[in-house]
Amino acid sequence: MRLAPAIFVALAAVLAGQPATQRFFADDPLAREPESQDASGALAADVGLFYDIAFDLFATSRRDSAGVRARNANTIDEVPDSSWFTNRILARPIPLDELARGPNTGPAPNPERWVFVREKSVGASPGFTATDASGETWFLTFDPPAHAEAATGAMVVASKFFWALGYNQVETFITTVDPRRLTIDPAATMRRPNGKKTPVRESDLDAIFERAARNADGTYRAAAGRMLKGKVLGPFRYEGTRPDDPNDVIDHEHRRELRALRVFGAWTNLTDLKSGNTIDTLVTVNGRSVVRHYLQDVGSTFGIGANGPHDWDEGFEYLYQGIASRKRLLTLGLALSPWQTADYPDYPSIGRFESDKFDPLTWKPHAPTTGYMEMQPDDAFWAARRVAAFDDASIRAMVHAGQYSDPAAEAYLATTMMRRRDKIARAYLGAVNPIVNPRLSAGGDLTFDNAAVAAGAGTAPAGYHSEWRQFDNRSGETRPLGVARGTGPLLNAPRPLPSNPGDFVEIDAWSDGTSPARLHFRRTADGWTLVGLDRRAAAPTTATPTAERRRQ
């Protein structure tokens, strides 16, 4: 499944700044994707579960990656804010209480009484839609009987993490439902096996609660998801664009935030990545209808699924993985896979979640999405920086929001998240040039940070190299300015830099053992502004540094 050549040309031109002539525009780097058109004509459409999983499992898993840069990455290798994504972690300091609050902006449900209004339409976990004592509508999900607090805790905690990572999330709270204070809306119906909808009866509620963990006082702990604003359009697809949304012009598989779910999913063990767990809504922004994209259900995380703990191999293998299956069968099970020797502590409220056997590079969801298959090293680096940006206190604060009654379980979940975070940083931050936050002073001093070193995922290199060029933004032509070396993250321009507003310099910078990152700065009245950062830059143009690298 190869994309049309036209799309490569098109998308290269859009955000990353690679046209044949002018490279950078006045508004580079783009901070927000525009949504210029009215999308009120977008229609609700579903994605079949069987197709979703079967296609990804047997077709997408065999897909050859196009090997292209994320098309919505801007010219400085970041992702602009959009209806998909909002820069949060790394973009600004987030106080612990805000992290713990996550996407929740409104009041928690009022559990004094509940009214059943609708059965669950998707998902296998026990639950239903109900209005609380304040008349607000909530989607309620309960814990499996032998795993109290697990599913509800995972839903709430994961929503905090994915919100902080930048995704649109449903406001989700821990609440309680007392069946004695639960009534049935007379208009509520339930679809029966014969396909007809008939009024909901008490026995229907009994059947739901039978599958849920009951508290000692007869109540049930639930995760309550606030009903989203706007018109629900159904799940989004991980491939292509919505043909009915005029603002959706970048193929989803080439959106960096969707590719990065391979890393974020690995961190949180979000194994159920299917489209069915996403949702698009049509909302009004500034008087215009736009489609907003949510990761709606991130509850199959850590060690728990809809109806119990993850299967033993979840996170390690797809639902069906031919090679691993054949290997096990042909050796009568003696060829062990990593999950078989993993040690899962017995925390029923956490499920099967560990960090020792976890390998970010080989982590797998139930079935791979196209974004999963298309992820490039620079996407992974971008994602890993965000994962590494969560310090221990932040992780503890978000895990604490899960309201686990067992402090040991809460501590285990937090510790496991920290260890998995560190593994992700080690796996990805050194895999590409880890130079971040480059600054060029008016006097020509280039300073930057090393993301791998900052995250403790690598040691400081012995030195940095650079090639400097004057860059013509209109023609793309360059004129050498010289080379510079330094022992630390400070490189001095080899000669005076052009100083007219609108001038550009191009700098290839690298440390020993890494490929260059190509930086572009634009001269303004105030100094130099970063407008370009590409970790996939070609080899340096001058021979000397290359030869030096070879000698080293």
């Binding site: 044949a20 002018q22 210029s36 029966r192 096996p193 026995s203 012009v249 299956s325 096990r328």
Partner: protein
């Protein structure tokens, strides 16, 4: 595929816009008028003139239809249950429809290449007694044309002793399952009225009436009408009877076969135990199964040969043909070492042993007949729709195809 065509056209528009937006600016050597956002906005404007609803391609459309069938159930469905064990490859179909919110009526029939036929209607009420019970009512007719009979006993019979008989049987039955606590404890009661019209067998083997007489083989040529009542009490902790990696089943069933003619009435007591033991994170599962059937004539009546407990076939002594061993009492012991390949595929090494005997004490007084083999299963969480096995016994190899788990 329409989606891809749409993407190409939009991408082409974006490309054109992007390149043309930059070229004039370069030619005139003026600062670019268009910005990065403007390029995207232009692409969005272009797309706005060609919006259309999403249309699934053929693959998606087919898979969506498959899902609809799987979720809502098939009205027209395949039916692979033959009239009687040993009939060979079976083809069949049924038509199922809901007659109320949960209750179904299924009309179905099957045919085997050896001429076995089954036609029946089954009514299932799966939600009775506040979801604590289920009822199944079945009525139909079946015919088996060449059922094997190898004589009575274990050691004193041979595969070469095969003779065949035939029967046709109209039947009607009702069974009620009751789970007082909705799990674990199962109580089952059933009633069946049927007539076994036996007849000389077809096929390549001799007919049973050519080998035996009514004096040497009780029930030869008989056509008893039975009122069969049965009651079961069991503890069942398996996640699903059709596929389980853990849990157990321990049950006792008492049968009373009341012959309306007063000649061939008998009672039978069945004991059955199954235990699945997951090993090393379900890398392997040791599955053990034991079953004994103990029949005794009622009030001095005889148990007809075709109603005797039997062993042999694809779910018990898999290395022997169906109905290979028959007598008043049977004992079956099975062990499987299952290798869990994935969440969809298993294989198993198995060993079966068993014997039949006229006296209960003789069930364990002599070596058991045994077989071993290897099997491959496609399964889901609750069912095993395909089981292919090859089994070997001292009587040779046998290939097993089945659409259910062995136990």
């Amino acid at each position: 595929m329409p989606l891809r065509r749409g993407i190409r056209s939009i991408a082409g528009a974006v490309a054109i816009v992007a390149t043309t937006a930059a070229a004039p600016a370069a030619a005139q050597e003026q600062p670019p008028a268009a910005g990065r956002a403007a390029i995207l906005e232009q692409a969005q404007t272009e797309k706005a003139s060609a919006l259309r609803p999403y249309e699934p391609d053929k693959v998606e459309d087919i898979l969506n239809r498959v899902e609809k069938v799987l979720v809502r159930g098939m009205h027209l469905h395949p039916f692979f249950v033959s009239a009687y064990s040993g009939g060979g490859f079976t083809i069949g179909a049924g038509y199922l429809r809901h007659v109320s919110a949960y209750n179904t009526l299924d009309l179905r029939g099957s045919y085997t290449f050896s001429g076995y036929k089954r036609l029946e209607a089954e009514f299932v009420a799966p939600r009775l007694f506040n979801r604590r019970g289920a009822m199944t009512v079945t009525g139909g007719w079946r015919e088996a044309t060449q059922v094997g009979f190898y004589g009575l006993g274990t050691e004193n019979t041979s595969a070469n002793d095969r003779s065949n008989y035939a029967f046709d049987q109209p039947y009607g039955s009702a069974t009620v399952d009751f789970w007082p606590a909705r799990k674990l404890l199962l109580m089952r009661g059933g009633l069946e009225l049927s007539t076994w019209n036996t007849a000389p067998g077809g096929g390549t083997a001799k007919s049973v009436d050519e080998v035996y007489t009514a004096a040497t083989l009780p029930g030869l040529g008989a056509a008893p009408t039975y009122l069969h009542s049965a009651a079961t009490i069991a503890l069942d902790s398996r996640p699903a009877p059709g596929y389980a990696r853990r849990g157990s089943f321990f049950g006792v069933t008492y049968h009373d076969f009341h012959d309306q003619g007063g000649q061939f009435g008998f009672n039978r007591l069945d004991y059955e135990a199954t235990q699945h033991v997951p090993i090393f994170k379900e890398t392997w599962v040791l599955s053990l199964h034991a079953r004994t059937e103990l029949a005794v004539g009622a009030n001095g009546q005889a148990v007809p040969y075709f109603m005797l407990p039997a062993l042999g076939g694809g779910s018990n002594l898999r290395g022997f043909p169906s109905w290979r061993f028959r007598d008043l009492n049977s004992l079956l012991l099975q062990a499987e070492w299952r290798v869990i390949g994935s969440r969809l595929v298993d294989m198993a090494l198995f060993y079966d042993a068993g014997r039949v005997a006229a006296r209960r004490q003789d069930l364990t007084s002599a070596p058991l007949k045994s077989d071993y083999g290897v099997g491959f299963r496609l399964h889901g969480r609750v069912a095993t729709p395909l089981r292919i096995e090859i089994a070997h016994s001292n009587e040779g190899f046998r290939l097993v195809f089945s659409s259910k788990a062995p136990f």
